[in-house]
Symmetry: C2
Subunit: 199 residues, 2 copies
């Protein structure tokens, strides 16, 4: 480091702040960037700032959007009576990849986690409730993560929304398809047993 | 990807161009960047562009420099009669970390590699020769990489510079310190045998 001029040291330090990028990788990336044409670097830095400047939350589902409505809420042929609640915009992308869900989404932007100081008021739950008010939603699928925070959030939402007369469902737990029973953890296996289906 | 707005897709695509960054990591980095404050992003993008704008080659040794002279050439107490020739500025940093070399450097910015269309004229060899002209250099240590391209470059430089009456040396090949003889490859072991020293 000492024999690099300050602008390179600064660049390496900035890159090392990125998640999963250690000092060695940061150095490799810094030298890669230095070797690029100025135009390519302007593309990269422009993309970083443009994403930050242009992206906001969809006014309906709180998914990431460039306009007031996200691409999914703007699709006219989707079902409006089923809403799938997820923690993160990446979860929307994951469910969309299944091509199996034609309803709408609601992105909470997190999960209830008292340890991290995240309570219901930090999540997009108020926005969810105001959506449910008009009576068009008949089922809410809770697709929060299958971990402590996700389960706590699911329970909280179920208690809040069931009284509104909306059917509340949760993604199934069980063995992953293509997985090996031997390698499944005990909790997953226990849930798979509990939720066994008649063939 | 499809359910992300275009600015995020663009950002993911730009990040995925970086070496060692696959599409999954690019997506993770993109969402990390989106969650940062604008000020932090300006620091990062500023560091990228500043490094590109401010860094040039040292007029003496072709190492990276912010001024016409690099930090090492500006150190007054270094020996001027020994020059260590390396392929890359990172090799300078590696040798500096040993605290064992007090001479100067010369950075070639590559190695001869006909396969990649890199000949001697693409390297900073002309700059090296003009440095050697004033007669103050008595030894040149060739520290190019111990691979085909590095060896070819070392041979080329030795043939070019020995006739000038300058002692030309090459870094020793042998077993890595702390390594396990069993795991040394045959070539390294053969070189270690060949260069054995009396105890």
């Amino acid at each position: 480091m000492l024999s690099f001029p300050p602008p390179i040291q600064k660049l390496i330090a900035e890159l090392a702040r990125l998640p999963g990028i250690g000092p060695k990788t940061a150095q490799r990336l810094a030298f890669f960037l230095l070797a690029q044409e100025k135009a390519a670097l302007l593309e990269l830095t422009g993309a970083i700032l443009a994403a930050k400047d242009k992206i906001r939350y969809c006014s309906t589902c709180c998914n990431l959007a460039e306009d007031t409505a996200c691409p999914i809420c703007r699709e006219t042929q989707r079902r409006h009576d089923v809403v799938c609640v997820v923690q993160d915009p990446r979860d929307v992308a994951a469910i969309e990849r299944t091509h199996d869900f034609r309803g709408l989404y609601h992105v909470l932007h997190g999960a209830i986690s008292p340890m991290d100081g995240v309570g219901p008021e930090q999540l997009k739950i108020r926005e969810l409730l105001s959506r449910l008010n008009n009576g068009s939603v008949r089922e809410m699928i809770i697709a929060t993560n299958p971990n402590i925070e996700g389960e706590a959030t699911a329970l909280y939402l179920a208690r809040l929304i069931k009284p509104l007369g909306i059917k509340v469902t949760r993604l199934a737990h069980g063995l992953p398809v293509g997985g090996d029973l031997e390698y499944a953890d005990e909790l997953t296996l226990a849930r798979a047993l509990e939720n066994r289906r008649e063939m």
